[in-house]
């Protein structure tokens, strides 16, 4: 199963429960809401989408299907912007 983790080069801080990320490659700033910040913190260690969905559902009162859909969208966005990276094998990471 494909796992993901934070791109180690990203500068960031959590301010008032929302993460501010800066990618030194393009100096773009990204502001994460509370749930995305929770996901970002999880990704300090490699996580699969299933891992993340489970953790988010435990932490927040969300429907698992909705959580999976939102997290998958977040995954795509963060991969596109170079904020996270895939770890090891697990097949082609397709959108």
């Amino acid at each position: 199963m494909q796992t993901y983790r934070c791109n180690d080069e990203i500068a960031y801080r959590v301010i008032d429960e929302e993460a501010v990320l800066l990618n030194p490659v393009d100096n773009r700033i990204h502001l994460l809401n509370e749930v995305a910040t929770f996901v970002w913190k999880l990704l300090a260690e490699p996580q699969s989408i299933d891992d993340i969905v489970s953790a988010v559902c435990r932490e927040f009162d969300v429907d698992p299907e909705r959580a999976r859909s939102d997290i998958d969208e977040l995954r795509v966005q963060m991969l596109e912007k170079g904020l996270i990276e895939t770890v090891g094998g697990g097949g082609v990471d397709a959108r």
Binding site: A11, Y12, R13, I15, D16, V20, P24, N27, H30, L31
Partner: protein, 361 residues
């Protein structure tokens, strides 16, 4: 979930939120006052100012990270005069700071450029003062400095480091500005320029008075669109806010601050004196409890006399720190800002008289 609107608005939102809670976002740290150049306009009076050892610096970096500081600018003097610079830059990156390095570049060879590339800094800003050795080197006081600075830029670019060329526009290079712009374009780098000079740290303005643009040069720059970036960065936005009692003149002490080589924390390095020492209290305690920071945070534009009723207010850019060190009053005018504003008002045909600068001598 992920908000990354165009850079200025996301940044502005972050700063706005940080201002509300006085969250420290941005620190500029003079690691050393030592320098291998002797630029004419330099504000440093004591090149041998005591500096902190490596372990102490690493501890301070941890405190800054813990406090929530994201943007860290490392400067000097010349930071490469410190043998532990790469250690400290590396540790700052390990602590997930967004790091910018200010340097004259003369000590950056290919190997150093490669190491900087590996650190993934947000940027390296290299200072020059002319587009040729003939203009640059007399200003820096060191023959060969221009070639070494440009060589550094080339090394950095080869290794993919984001580079900005930086210059102060002064009397001696005013006529060379278009060549500096052309040089930046040729190198493929952004140029950042200002003509706003800081007095020496002891308040002496003799040297910068000889460097500052003449009234005629200021007027030429203001009239000439091609000189945008020289003086216009010194002028206000043409608006006078309705409620001056709600306007914070500067972010210093609200979201940003400076640290001196010997570990004094100031709202801004322009304040020079009155900071608290990190050997006595940790950074967050100083940030939250320092009397100087509290005093600065209370200041609103309505408190600045006579600027609060000056007809030139809408044109004026005023640095409170420079007003303090050059004219002795944090809440008073900056004579240099008054000069620029007067010239601009003359060009615009605005005949209102701005109050003369107070004589604080």
């Amino acid at each position: 979930m992920l908000d990354d609107r165009c850079l200025p608005s996301v940044y502005e939102e972050i700063v706005h939120r940080a201002m509300k809670s006085n969250h420290p976002l941005d620190v500029i740290w003079e690691l050393t006052h030592r320098c291998n150049l002797r630029c004419r306009h330099c504000y440093i009076t004591d090149f041998d100012r005591p500096e902190l050892d490596t372990e102490t610096c690493r501890g301070i970096l941890e405190q800054l990270a813990e406090a929530g500081v994201l943007w860290l600018t490392v400067t000097g003097g010349e930071p490469f005069m410190r043998s532990d610079l790469f250690d400290l830059l590396g540790y700052a990156r390990d602590l997930k700071f967004a790091v910018t390095l200010f340097t004259n570049g003369t000590l950056i060879d290919s190997a150093a450029a490669e190491r900087l590339s590996d650190l993934k800094l947000s940027g390296v800003e290299v200072s020059i003062y002319g587009a040729s050795p003939a203009v640059n080197d007399p200003f820096t006081g060191v023959d060969g400095s221009f070639r070494r600075s440009i060589s550094a830029v080339e090394h950095l670019l080869r290794f993919g480091v984001p580079v900005t060329l930086k210059t102060c526009i002064v009397r001696s290079n005013f006529n060379d500005y278009s060549n500096i712009e052309a040089l930046a374009a040729e190198l493929g780098v952004r140029l950042r320029s200002t003509s706003y000079l800081a007095p020496r740290n002891d308040g002496d303005t003799t040297r910068i008075d000889a460097c500052r643009l003449t009234d005629e040069q200021v007027a030429d720059a203001l009239r000439d669109d091609g000189a945008a970036g020289i003086v216009p960065d010194l002028v206000g936005e043409g608006l006078v806010p309705d409620r001056l009692d709600r306007v914070i003149p500067c972010g210093a002490g609200h979201v940003s601050c400076g640290i001196t080589p010997d570990g004094s924390v100031l709202p801004c390095l322009q304040f020079v004196n009155g900071g608290e020492d990190l050997s006595r209290r940790d950074f967050l305690s100083i940030w939250n409890e320092s009397e100087l920071f509290e005093r600065v945070r209370e200041v609103r534009l309505s408190d600045v006399e006579p600027c609060n009723r000056c007809p030139g207010l809408k044109y004026c850019f005023r640095c409170p720190g420079i007003a303090l060190i050059e004219d002795g009053d944090l809440l008073g005018p900056s004579r240099e800002s008054c000069r620029i504003t007067r010239i601009l008002m003359g060009i615009l045909g605005d005949e209102a008289q701005i109050p003369p600068p107070r004589d604080t001598n």
